[in-house]
């Protein structure tokens, strides 16, 4: 996609000076009638499209008048006219003159050197009247407003301090002027860059978005190379034709860029959401930008811009409003003829005009017996000065099948005024039509009267809105439903398992809670039972365990981990008598031997038990548990 170049805009070029430079001179005087000794100014503006500045301004003054100056300011103008961008350089020379006697004076003409040739301005004629007859403000310069806040150098019309005779006349500083929309905060690229701007960036559906693409070059003049328009899905676009593109010198961060608005569009969003205006590309061509012959020039791309599009508010929305009808419109209508015969037609011409994407449809006043045919439409819509404005003229043929005086009602267009942020309705009353009866004409058939109308009475209108109680939300939307569904079976399973685990834990806990003393006595009881049955090995095992627990209870020694030969010494160290220690070792050895006796020897078992019981009781003497 390439730019449709506006007819008058292509190049951004400072043209080289041809042999004969074009020069424009403009001579102005601050007052044509002054008093004697009242200062006034003569100014010569000289511009040339050549490469050298105009220089050496001169002004010849007649006798009875003297001149100060000139003060000289330099200026640069860049403009594009009919496809050519022209840079003009020039100076402004200003003389301050004072007359010493009354009379009519012919001053000048001022002259200046341009490319070695002396060019002359216009002759100035000034009438000088005696002091006090001109009604001047003392000290002021005629032709100035008393207080000019925009004159930064002399807002009060005269210098605050008297100038000394040997002072050089002040030179007016050069201040490049440019429209504010060209301003940039910083140089985005040292050579060239593009800046895309869209305003506003949050709009309602159908509201205009102004998009403009600016090219900035830091190396002087440039011409357009390969260019592509930005993608803009979801928008209707109108290109703003620019008869003349002006390039402006824009000072940024100490350097002066050449800036030009190379494209301007008015976009109308046709759907809601976040719509993106894609990047545009532009080729900077010129000696300072791209090598000669390089296709497309120095390519640069602008940043994409997101536009948020929402629907206009529901509050206050009029009946018949169609989404996208945004702007500001007026509606006029005419009806001809106003007297017809039944079955004939009238012509209704309605003209809708205004600012915005002029809607293609109007709301028509329908009624039984009045039939509106599809309209013919003439549209004239233009984008200029950053806005789309225009008109649509709708021509309807309206057939009337009823007789009598018929009020046609009014055609309307509800629209949303985004600037005022409210809805409005453009209306045009159509007036009344007198319809004479047509005795010969057959009434036009209506669809509802056709014999095979299968849709007749298919749907009957409700008489009144019933009172409704909103149904409760589905059970499955309630959080408790799913919990309840699983709670029963899982609860039974979980509780059963928990009870089983609890019982096991309780048993284990109970076992861990028994003391050695307690367990010693338990084992002794077990040994007694085994001895009663004559089970020698079981008795021996129980006696052995009982003695070990008794040793642990009495001395704290875990005897299983102590060598039998070391046991007496260990027991002695814990205060057990040697005789008792001897008996303990004897019982343990006897039990160890007896554990391997498989026979049933009631006597041996009883004897072993007796020895064991005696030792255990001796060890546990005085212990309770």
């Amino acid at each position: 996609m390439t730019f449709r170049a506006p007819s008058a805009v292509v190049a951004v070029v400072f043209l080289a000076t041809p042999a004969a430079a074009q020069v424009s001179l403009d001579t102005q005087v601050s007052a044509r009638r002054v008093e004697v000794n009242q200062p006034f100014r003569v100014q010569l503006k000289a511009f040339s499209d050549g490469q050298s500045n105009p220089a050496n301004p001169r002004l010849t003054v007649p006798d009875g008048m003297h001149a100060q100056g000139p003060s000289i300011g330099t200026q640069t103008e860049v403009s594009i006219t009919q496809g050519r961008m022209v840079q003009r350089v020039g100076i402004t020379a200003t003389w301050t003159l004072t007359a010493t006697k009354p009379g009519t004076f012919r001053i000048g003409p001022p002259s200046i050197d341009v490319d070695g040739k002396r060019e002359k301005g216009s002759l100035v004629v000034v009438q000088v009247v005696p002091e006090g007859q001109g009604g001047r403000r003392p000290g002021g310069i005629p032709g100035r407003i008393p207080f000019d806040p925009f004159d930064f150098f002399d807002p009060f019309g005269r210098a605050p301090f008297p100038r000394l005779p040997f002072d050089e006349p002040p030179s007016e500083p050069e201040t490049p002027t440019y429209p504010p929309e060209y301003a940039v905060d910083r140089v985005l690229d040292p050579v060239a860059f593009l800046v895309a701007r869209a305003k506003p960036q949050k709009v309602v559906l159908g509201q205009a978005v102004n998009f403009a693409l600016y090219a900035y070059g830091a190396r002087g003049v440039f011409e357009p190379g390969a260019t592509t328009e930005p993608s803009r899905e979801g928008f209707i676009a109108y290109t703003v034709d620019q008869d003349q593109i002006r390039a402006h010198p824009v000072p940024v961060e100490g350097s002066t860029l050449i800036a030009a608005r190379i494209s301007q569009l008015v976009l109308f969003p046709i759907r809601t959401g976040t719509l993106r205006i894609g990047p545009a590309r532009f080729g900077f061509q010129g000696r300072s930008y791209a090598k000669s012959g390089s296709p497309g020039g120095l390519l640069r791309e602008s940043q994409p811009i997101d536009i948020v599009v929402v629907e206009p508010p529901l509050a206050g929305r009029p009946v018949g409003y169609r989404l996208g009808d945004v702007g500001r419109y007026t509606l006029t209508a005419s009806v001809t003829p106003t007297q017809i015969q039944q079955g004939e037609a009238v012509s209704v011409v309605a003209k809708l005009e205004g600012v915005g994407n002029v809607p293609p449809k109007l709301n028509l006043p329908q009624q039984t017996g009045v039939e509106w045919m599809d309209p013919g439409t003439i549209e004239k819509i233009e984008a200029e000065n950053g806005a789309v404005r225009g008109s649509r003229t709708f021509t309807y043929v309206v057939r009337i099948d009823r007789e009598g005086t018929i009020d046609l009602g009014e055609v309307t267009l509800p629209y949303y005024d985004a600037d005022k942020q409210r809805y409005d309705v453009a209306r045009a009353a159509l007036g009344t039509i007198t319809v004479r009866a047509n005795p010969n004409g057959a009434p036009a058939p209506v669809a509802s009267a056709l014999p095979k109308d299968r849709l007749e009475n298919v749907v009957l209108p409700p008489k009144r809105l019933r009172e409704l109680t909103p149904p409760p939300p589905p059970l499955s939307d309630r959080r408790g439903f799913w919990l309840l569904l699983l709670a029963g079976p899982l609860g039974v399973l979980t509780v059963g398992q928990a009870l089983r685990v609890a019982r096991r834990l309780r048993e284990r806990w109970g076992a861990e809670q028994k003391t050695p003393l307690h367990r010693s006595r338990e084992e002794l009881d077990a040994a007694r039972k085994s001895a009663g049955s004559g089970l020698v090995s079981e008795t021996a095992a129980a006696i052995e365990r009982s003695v070990h627990f008794a040793l642990e209870a009495a001395t704290g020694i875990r005897a299983r981990g102590v060598l039998r030969s070391e046991l007496p010494r260990s027991l002695a160290a814990r205060g057990v008598s040697a005789e008792l220690a001897e008996r303990v070792v004897g019982v343990l050895e006897a039990a160890e031997l007896a554990r391997f006796v498989q026979a049933t020897e009631r006597g041996e078992a009883s004897e072993l038990f007796a020895r064991g019981e005696e030792v255990v009781n001796a060890l546990l003497k005085g212990k309770r548990g």
Binding site: N363, L455, P470, L486
Partner: protein, 275 residues
């Protein structure tokens, strides 16, 4: 006491506001129907559509909208899609008032007329059956499946308890309870979950243009997943599973495809007063 009075006052204020909203809605419907009666069909439809745009959902308002569209479809000013919009309004009314048999009959007649006109224009009568899962889940209302699942759960709980009693008779009864509870619980649970999934993951809509062209994900006309390669006809009930930009991913029978959202009218599922 003060709290009770405040609560009562708040309730009265809310009731009053709801009543005022209903009065406004009633007035809008009356004006719309009056406009239809005098032949201003566009105005009547605009009034009813504006009421719907403002959030008012009521089966009678939907029925009035269906009536207005049918009247316009009968008139010389008929527009393409009028019958589809009437079908959408009737489908909504049926959804909001499921016990009203007259709505079902009206909807069938409107769809029959759409099919007849489509056949007259040379279009094939396209009928799509819902998928097996959706068909089974739609056999009963969602709450019926929920109650069945709850019954199964209770039966299973009782069976498990009886099994723990320890007596032989109770153990047999418990085993039967567990089997039956598992059957009903799983059946009801799966179907209520499926019905809920369909309800929450998709929304019913009706095609309101003569034919909704099937698109691929990028918006290009393309083959859909399923047996259908043509468009979806006017008045067809589809289920919208996803909306992206201006397109909707719809399920129509076993066909799944993207269509332009503007070609569909979403169906409201529950009544809503005028805010």
């Amino acid at each position: 006491m003060t709290r009770a009075l405040l609560a009562f006052a708040f309730f009265v204020a809310l009731s009053g506001r709801a009543a005022a909203g209903n009065e406004k809605a009633q007035a809008s419907v009356d004006e719309a129907l009056a406009a239809v009666e005098r032949g201003a069909l566009d105005e009547g439809i605009d009034r009813l559509e504006l009421l719907a745009d403002r959030g008012f959902v009521h089966p009678d308002a939907s029925t009035a909208r269906a009536y207005a569209y049918v009247e316009r479809a009968r008139s010389r000013g008929a527009r393409p899609g009028d019958l589809g919009r009437a079908a959408a309004a009737l489908e909504e009314a049926k959804q909001l008032d499921p016990d009203n048999a007259a709505l079902e009959a009206s909807l069938e007649q409107v769809r029959a007329e759409i099919s007849r006109r489509r056949a007259r224009a040379g279009g094939s009568p396209l009928v799509q059956r819902p998928t097996l899962g959706r068909a089974v889940a739609d056999l009963l209302p969602e709450n019926a499946w929920a109650i069945l699942a709850a019954f199964g759960s209770a039966l299973l709980t009782a069976g498990l308890l009886l099994k723990r009693v320890g007596r032989r008779g109770a153990e047999i009864a418990g085993a039967v309870g567990i089997a039956a509870g598992l059957l009903f619980g799983l059946l009801g649970g799966c179907l209520v979950a499926a019905a809920r999934h369909y309800r929450t993951s998709s929304r019913p809509a009706v095609v309101v243009v003569p034919e909704a062209r099937l698109l691929d994900e990028a918006g290009r006309p393309g083959p859909a997943k399923g047996p259908l390669s043509e468009g979806i006809p006017e008045g067809a009930l589809v289920h919208v599973r996803e909306q992206r930009n201006e397109r909707s991913f719809v399920e129509w029978g076993s066909t799944r495809a993207w269509v332009q959202s503007a070609q569909l009218r979403l169906i409201a599922l529950s009544p809503h007063p005028l805010p």
